[in-house]
Structures are given as C-alpha cells and as structure tokens.
C-alpha cells in the first residue's frame, strides 16, 4: 500500500518535481516540456504551452485529427451514414468505442451508430487512386441503406495520394440527390484531435447547418454544443430542459439527428459545454445569424443549477425563471441527500486529472462538491484559452500546424429573415448588466495555488507525478487506466466513464458521488499485499515428499 501525503496545509511547490521530471529528458525536450508545466497562481496571468507538436517517442495520450473529427464530433450522430475512406483500421477503431448513446425517435428510425463503413483501401487503391472505389462505396451504401446524408472521412493516405473527397462528394450528391459531404481530416493534419474538431465544425457549418428553416415550435429555443452523450449525459440534460419548457433544438452532437443540425440556426441561444471541440460553430453561428453563445457546464450539481439559471436569466421570463428555480431546488435536495451520506467518506481525498479539452476542468466542480482536492491537472488536446481563458486568444501565436487548418471566413447572412437583430440587441442590453457572453475563463483560475498544470502529459511524467503526489484517484483514459492501477492507484476513465454514467446534470452528480464512494471508500486496494509480506520470514526448509 502506498502511503498517502497530507495536503491540509496547502499544496507543495512543484518546482522540485518539475526539475526531477525534466532532467531525464534530452536538453531540447526538457526545455520544451518545461513550458507545458505551470505551478498555478490562480490570480495571476500565467502562460502555458499548449496545442503544439508532441515530442516523438515520448509516449503521449494524444490521438489524431481523424479521431477528433470522425470519433469525437461526428461519432455521436446516428443518421448520417459515415464512410471512412482509407485502409480498414481507422474505421474499425472508431466502431462503437466512444460510447455515444443514442435514442432514435422510433424503432425503425435511422441509426447507423452500430455500423462501421469503410472503403478498406488496398495497395492498388493507394497506387492508382481510391476515388473510384469511394464512389462505388457511396453508391452501394445508398442502395443498401438509403440514408438522408452521407459523410466521407479522409484517413492519412487519402490526402497523400491526392484523392479529392470533396469533388467525389459533390458528384455523388448530384447523382444520388442526397447530401454528401467530405472531411479532410487525415490523421497527420494537426498536432492532436483538436484539429479534427475544427475541421468537423467547418464542414458541418458549410454543408448542413442552416439547410432548412423551421417554424418556431418553442418559446425558448436553444442548442447545446459540445455535449456528446457519453454514458447518457445528454438524456439527463434533455430531461431537465423539457421539464423547464426550454426547447432543445439540436445538440452537437450527442443524441442528435441530421435534421436538427439543419435547423439549428433557428435557436435563440447556444450553450457551449466542451469549449475546445465546438467553440468554432458557436462563433460562426453568431457571425452569420447573430445568435449569441454562453459557456455552460452541467458537470456538477452546482454548475448545473448555475447554467440553468443563466439560461433562464437570458430569456428573462417570469414563468421560466420560476420553473427553473423549482426544478433546481427539487433536484438539489435529492443531490444533497446523497452527498450528505457520501461526502464524509471521501472528503479530503486527492485526485489528478489528465484528460480531454474540457473534462479536466469541468470535473473539478464535482470534486469540489465532495471536498476532494485536485492536486494536478491538464488537458490532452486543449489550447491556451482552455487553460488561461479566452482573453488570451489574440495573443496566441499562430504556428504552421494551426495554419494548416482552414479558418472559414463567415459573414452575416444575406437572408434578412434569418438575421437575429433582436438577439444582438438583447445581448448588448444584458452585457450592460454584467451578463457574460462568449466568455470562458479556462481551467487555471479555478485551481489552487501551487497546483501543477501540465499540458499533453507523457507516460514518464505520469509515473513521476504519481510517485510524488501519491493521489487517491487518477482520472484519464483507457490507455492510462491499467498503467496507473498496477501502481495501486484507482483510475477513473473520463472519456468512457468506465462504462458507467451519466455524470452530467443532477442525476449525473448523484451517479458520480456514488462512483467516488465505490472507488475511494473501498478496501480492495488494501488487500494487494499478501499477509506473509508483512510477517517475519520463515527460516529453514522442509521437504514434503508426496
């Protein structure tokens, strides 16, 4: 059993551990990695290096651009038939592994999530080009499945051999009479999944969003951006919105439908959950349609209440405000009852989180609610604004890797009927009262003094940090799970939720508290050492002849 450390008097200055970690690295790498490590001072502006190339060979958590596009953003959509153009692996690995739950409207409604479509490129396609096979695959998919839309995803070799997925998509769109669109999301395009998020945002904005104008059906219409319905998170949020009388038009992209993407521009407000993966669409919708966005967080009961009330404040409707207050009070009471029984068992425990582009921040709210201290945290694929806040965006150096990703130039819609001047005015008015739009403060201001913030953590750093901090809990993903657990520290997966959840909203908070009780109040880790390890050794020997 690992002996735990006492942090009641505050967190230790991590500079010693930073130098111990980096001294193992060759000079240049040490210099580079130091810039990605910050000893947090919450009230100060501190710069952290983020969204830069990973050091080859360092053993990173990161994945690729394709994963960010096909897996993260488009993965949760059920009725867009998604063909992966490339050798078989990329399609195979994105097949159902992200746990995006979905509930089609009826038993026969389209749901392609349990399917993995691929062109399974062979060497002759690499040599002679794969466009012909791609066209064939699209036609076959149309014949067999008659979907309303087909999306094509490029994998590494596609860009290199010069297959034009966009031209093929246009041709097929014409031929089949359904929407067909492509993504140039080759794995090497960016430094992490993040580039893929941006590419996904761009293409959805270009090819889908705004295609149909729908008559208003609700008094308060919103979109939820950056909620991927892992473990059923979106279901819990849908429940709350429905009861409050808020019409959730479209979620990008958990439990979403293609149709809902098409009319998402008829919303009054966008709520951004995962800032990293989806802020682009929020920004573009505001530029084109005048729809404002706010940052929301539904991880943690307190955050859920705060976000729901902020939405109500935006609409400024007495009935809605009352209803939201009622729901929050009722749900908070349920949450409190569970918390009261669990908090005493886990309070004072310590956690570390290295995950995602938002989760390492959002989950700090849940830990705070339980009195669990976050010692160190970082993202896998975030940018500086996710750490330091959006105010640093103008100062972020645009490097060659970022320049590779298309930045759509978006202007005000020419269709006057769609431009929401009323919302523009409403925003200006509310801003005067101190209501914050388009704002995200990032992770660092919320963290304690001396908390160690690390971007794109390596395996070596993970091992050293665990040795130094001896945390009670580590949060990361599947690749890290058993590495950390072999060392005697339980790991909670915050990508897949270890096949549990939901953790969003009020029900989610209750589930998470219970999960923390399971993981932190258990005795199983104390049974690791065999009893004879702590007994005096038996000297001498005896032979038993069978």
């Amino acid at each position: 059993m690992v002996k735990k450390k006492d942090y009641t008097a505050g967190l230790p200055d991590p500079s010693e551990i930073i130098s111990e970690i980096t001294k193992q690295y060759p000079g240049k790498i040490a210099k580079k990695r130091k810039k990605a490590m910050v000893s947090n001072v919450p009230e100060e502006d501190q710069e952290i290096q983020a969204n830069v190339r990973t050091v080859p060979g360092i053993i990173t958590q990161r994945g690729c651009t394709y994963a960010g596009c096909r897996g993260v953003v488009l993965g949760p959509t059920r009725d867009i038939l998604q063909i992966v153009h490339g050798p078989i692996g990329c399609s195979f690995y994105a097949w159902l592994t992200r746990r995006n739950q979905t509930k089609p409207e009826t038993e026969t409604s389209e749901n392609f999530i349990p399917y993995a479509f691929s062109t399974d490129m062979q060497d002759e396609n690499i040599v002679f080009g794969g466009e012909k096979k791609l066209k064939q695959a699209i036609r076959e998919a149309f014949e067999l499945f008659s979907p309303k839309a087909i999306a094509v995803f490029s994998t590494c070799p596609v860009g290199l051999i010069g297959d034009d997925v966009h031209a093929v998509s246009r041709e097929m769109k014409e031929e089949l009479g359904i929407n067909v669109f492509g993504f140039s999301c080759e794995g090497y395009r960016g430094v992490s999944q993040s580039a893929g998020h941006h590419i996904a945002n761009n293409q959805i904005f270009k090819h889908v969003l705004g295609n149909t104008d729908r008559e208003r059906t609700g008094k308060f219409q919103i979109n939820l951006l950056g909620e991927y319905n892992i473990g059923g998170d979106a279901f819990e949020l849908e429940r709350l919105f429905e009861e409050a009388g808020i019409e959730l038009l479209s979620t990008f992209s958990g439990n979403s439908s293609y149709d809902s993407f098409e009319y998402a521009h008829t919303a009054d407000l966008n709520i951004v959950m995962c800032h990293r993966s989806i802020n682009y669409i929020a920004e573009m919708m505001e530029l084109k349609y005048g729809i404002p966005w706010i940052k929301g967080n539904f991880i943690g009961a307190g955050s859920t209440t705060k976000t729901l009330k902020k939405i109500a404040e935006f609409f400024d409707d007495a009935e809605l405000t009352k209803k939201v207050a009622e729901i929050c009070a009722r749900e908070e009471a349920k949450v409190e009852a569970v918390k009261a029984s669990i908090k005493p068992k886990v309070e004072g425990k310590t956690a570390m989180m290295f995950v995602g582009g938002s989760r390492a921040h959002h989950y700090q709210d849940l830990f705070e609610e339980l009195g669990i201290k976050v010692l160190s945290a970082g993202y896998e694929f975030a940018h500086r604004d996710d750490y330091e806040g959006r105010h640093v965006i103008p100062n972020i150096k645009i490097d060659a890797d970022t320049r590779n990703i298309e930045e759509l130039s978006v202007s005000k819609t020419e269709n006057e009927a769609l431009w929401r001047q009323d919302l523009v005015e409403k925003k200006a008015e509310l801003e005067k009262k101190g209501y914050e739009f388009s704002s995200y403060e990032g992770m660092m201001p919320q963290m304690e003094k001396n908390a160690l913030v690390i971007d794109d953590i390596s395996h070596w750093e993970t091992e050293k940090l665990i040795e130094f901090y001896k945390p009670d809990l580590f949060c990361a993903g599947i690749k890290e799970k058993y590495v950390v657990q072999k060392g005697g520290v339980p790991l909670k997966q915050l990508h897949s939720y270890d096949y549990g959840g939901p953790y969003a909203g009020f029900e989610g908070a209750i589930n998470f508290y219970k999960e923390m009780e399971r993981m932190l109040a258990t005795n199983v880790w104390k049974l690791v050492d065999a009893p004879w390890k702590s007994e005096p050794e038996i000297v001498g020997s005896m032979t038993i002849n069978a």
Binding site: P56, G89, P157, K479, V483
Partner: protein, 460 residues
C-alpha cells in the same frame, strides 16, 4: 433492433465494407512486439495509429499496453518521417531505456515511402542506439493483408534480426506461435514441460499481458521471449510453427537463415489440431507422448461423448482469423456441429483450398468468404436468410446475437466485454474442454431461458 438496417437482401459489393471482420497490420505488429522481453513497440505514423492500437489492445487485455509513436504532422508527411523517427529513438532510449525498440510502419509512412531500414541504419551510424541496445523494424502497410499479416511481419523481423546459427546444436525446439492469448502461451509452455521438451516460445505474451497487481507498475514486465532465447533459436533442433498465416514466414526465414527445419501446424484448437501439434512436438523433441497428455485427451473425449446430444446438428456461424477458424471448423465438424457460415476479413487465396480440405464432402453445407467485403454484415445477411443455433466470434458479434436471439460464444480479438480469455486457455486438450464448456453454457442458457415451463429441465 441494433442492426436495424441489415436485411437479407445482398448486393454484389465492390467498394463498401460494413462491420469488418479484420483490422489493420500495425496492431498485430504491436501485439507481437509485446511478446519480446524489454521491448517497446514503436508506431511510425500519425499519433492516432498508436493511440488506437494501444486502446484496442488495452480494452481486450485490461492491461497496460505501452508503445510510442513518431507523431507525424503535415510537415513530416511532406518531407518524410526520418527526423521524427530519429527524434523518437533518442527520446525513447533516454527516457524509457528499453532493450529493444520494435518499429513498425503504417499506411502513412508506407505511402510516402519512408525507408525504415535506412532510417534505423542512420540512427545507428549517428550513435543514437546505445551499446547493447537494438532496433528492429517491420514494414506493416495497413492497406495490405490484415492484423494477422502485421503480426506475421513483425514476428519474421524479430526472428531474422536475432536468430544466429553457431556450431553448437541446442537440444531445444522452437515454437513460433500465432496470435493467441497470454493464457495460451502459458499453456504451450506447460504442455512442452509435461512432454519434457525444452522449448523457446516466440513471441510470448504471458507475464506481459496478464501481469499480477503488485502495487508497482513495470514498464517492461517479467515475461516475453528474451534476447538470448531469440538468439539461440538459430541453434534449435527444429521449429514447430503453429498458425500458418501468422507464423509461416517467420519459420521459413529461420530455416533460410539458420537451417532450422520447421513443421507447420494449425493452432492447436480442438481435438485433431491438438493431436497434430502434440505429434509434431513429440517428433521434434524426439520424445514419446507422456501419459499425462493422453489422459488430458481422454478427458476431452469423455466430455465430447457425454454431451454429444447438445452438439449434434447445431448450425454455427463463425468469423475471425484464418488460423483460428480452420481448426475450430474442424473441431466443430468432429463433434457433429454444422459450421454453416464462415467469414474472415483476412485476405488470401489459400483460404478456400483449406476450407475445402477441412470440409471434404461436407463443403456444400457451408457458405464461406474471406478478404474484401467478407465482413460481419455479410455474415448477418446470411443469418437473416437462414438462421443458426450458435454464433462464434469477437465482441462485435453481440449486436447480431442480440438482434437475432442467437446463443453467442466470444472467441477472438477483440473481446472487450467479457473476461476469462486472458486467464483460461483455449488451446490444447484442456483448452478444447474450455471451448466446449463455453459452447454448452451458451446453448444451455438459451434453452433455459426459452423453453416452456413444462419443458424446463433440471438435469442436462
């Protein structure tokens, strides 16, 4: 229905693969490398390849799967990945200090034409490889073959790099193993020990991907074939290579390089494939088969005859890798089950010939397909046309099994939703007992759940 869009209507597909029954080469290369002691696999490509392969193997084994990547960016894709690989080699040796780095390529690095030989040579010439350390490399383009091909290519590279023939003939037998579980590797060693034969098993993932919880993470676990063992393979009396698709190339390479003759067998799955393996091993080690092994065989025969009524005439759909499917089909035929549909995404012309040899005059009873568009969607369509009593395959089969209400036995990679495959071997006679136990459990559970109340049985 989960797979609600699958109907019995087939079209002649040429471009589209749906729900594949294979994955790509590099993951096989990574798995084979993990069976070498002190080895860190390295993926020369985009970060996603390495991340996906580590995740896939981790979900299957529920164990740490360590590997590094060259982290290609747009620049490296244009100018070549040499700088990235050289940087990776420096980083890996200074931070992680492995005995061996096993580099495999990807579709990306193969498409741009990176020459791994040349880059590794340059690393060595530039003094980036510390004294006594090794870098092996294998070309594993994802657009050729399948994960089985990648495993075979890496195993061949390992053998070619290390095996050396000296004047001394060692009284030992090489076992080149196809893609099996750590528990199976352990069972292979047990069988050899019971037979009194000294063997070198390569690769060997036991004690690598089934390590104990001790409170201390080991980057390079206790298991894996060691360098001295690999070197000594060149002096062995004979090689027994099990699983043709995964080991034939390595066996041939070892024969060419060190003149170690080989015998090629099926993976010892089921009765007669195990019979052939035991005979080959006994012959290679010049021993007679001990009574203990015969008693294991006898226990298997006892179980088959005791429970024959539950096997007889049951139609089975199977999908997976050729090395597993051939002996499994043979075994099912032996116990009077009816393999009705067989699918493997792994391409190869000899598949049909092998199937014909196994099925003999029963070949008309079975529909089979391998290679392009041989996917589980096709299998599901066949099942829709005429049902089966049992489905055998990897985890992805659970969607078909649930929709069609078919008893389902998980077998093959990846198995991400049940444990047991890591711990309990399915090879040899004892492993065959385990397979039958799983088949019977599944069929009997189905009978228990679906029988009418008056037909509900206490004793079965």
């Amino acid at each position: 229905m989960l797979l609600r869009h699958t109907t019995e209507k087939e079209i002649d597909r040429k471009g589209l693969t749906v729900n594949a029954a294979k994955t790509c080469q590099p993951v096989g290369a990574m798995y084979a490398s993990l069976g070498i002691h002190g080895c860190l696999p390295h993926s020369h490509g985009s970060q996603g390849c390495c991340s996906y392969h580590r995740s896939a193997l981790t979900r299957h084994y529920k164990e740490p799967v360590m590997a590094a990547t060259s982290s290609f960016t747009e620049g490296s894709s244009v100018f070549g990945g040499q700088a990235n690989l050289l940087q990776a080699i420096t980083t890996i040796f200074s931070v992680y200090d492995p005995e061996i780095i096993a580099v495999h390529s990807t579709c990306l690095s193969e498409t741009i034409g990176d020459d791994l030989h040349q880059i590794v040579k340059k690393a060595s010439d530039d003094g980036k490889v510390p004294e006594g350390k090794h870098i092996i490399q294998a070309a594993t383009p994802s657009y050729v073959g399948s994960h089985v091909t990648g495993y075979s290519n890496m195993l061949t590279a390992i053998v070619k790099y290390f095996a050396v023939k000296t004047d001394e003939v060692k009284r030992q037998v090489n076992i080149l193993s196809g893609w099996v579980e750590p528990a199976d590797m352990r069972e292979l060693k047990r069988i050899a020990k019971v037979m009194g034969i000294k063997t070198v098993l390569a690769p060997d993932t036991s004690d690598v991907l089934d390590t104990p919880l001790t409170g201390k993470f080991e980057l390079y676990p206790k298991g894996g074939t060691t360098i001295p063992e690999l070197v000594s393979m060149g002096d062995s009396m004979k090689t027994v290579a099990i699983g043709e698709w995964a080991t034939k190339d390595a066996a041939v390479a070892l024969d060419n390089q060190c003149k170690v003759p080989f015998e090629l067998c099926n993976l010892p799955i089921g009765l007669r494939a195990t019979d052939r393996f035991i005979s080959a091993l006994a012959k290679a080690g010049a021993v007679s088969v001990p009574a203990e092994i015969e008693r294991e065989r006898g226990r298997l025969m006892d179980l088959i005859t005791d429970m024959h009524q539950y096997f007889y005439g049951k139609r089975v759909a199977l999908y997976g890798d050729p090395d597993q499917l051939f002996p499994l089909c043979e075994f099912l035929l032996d116990i009077d089950m009816v393999p009705a549909y067989v699918i493997s995404g792994t391409p190869g012309k000899s598949f049909s010939k092998r199937m014909e040899a196994i099925f003999g005059d029963k070949i008309d009873q079975v529909k089979f397909k391998n290679g392009a568009q041989a996917d589980t969607f096709q299998l599901h369509q066949w099942i829709k046309q005429e049902g089966v009593d049992l489905l055998i395959g990897n985890t992805y089969g659970k969607y078909i099994a649930r929709d069609e209400k078919i008893p389902f036995v998980r077998f093959g990679f990846p198995t991400m939703d049940r444990i047991g495959h890591q711990y309990f071997s399915t090879i040899g006679y004892m492993g065959a007992i385990r397979i039958l136990e799983k088949i019977l459990d599944s069929i009997m559970q189905y009978q228990d759940e679906t029988s009418t109340e008056e037909k509900f049985e206490l004793v079965m």
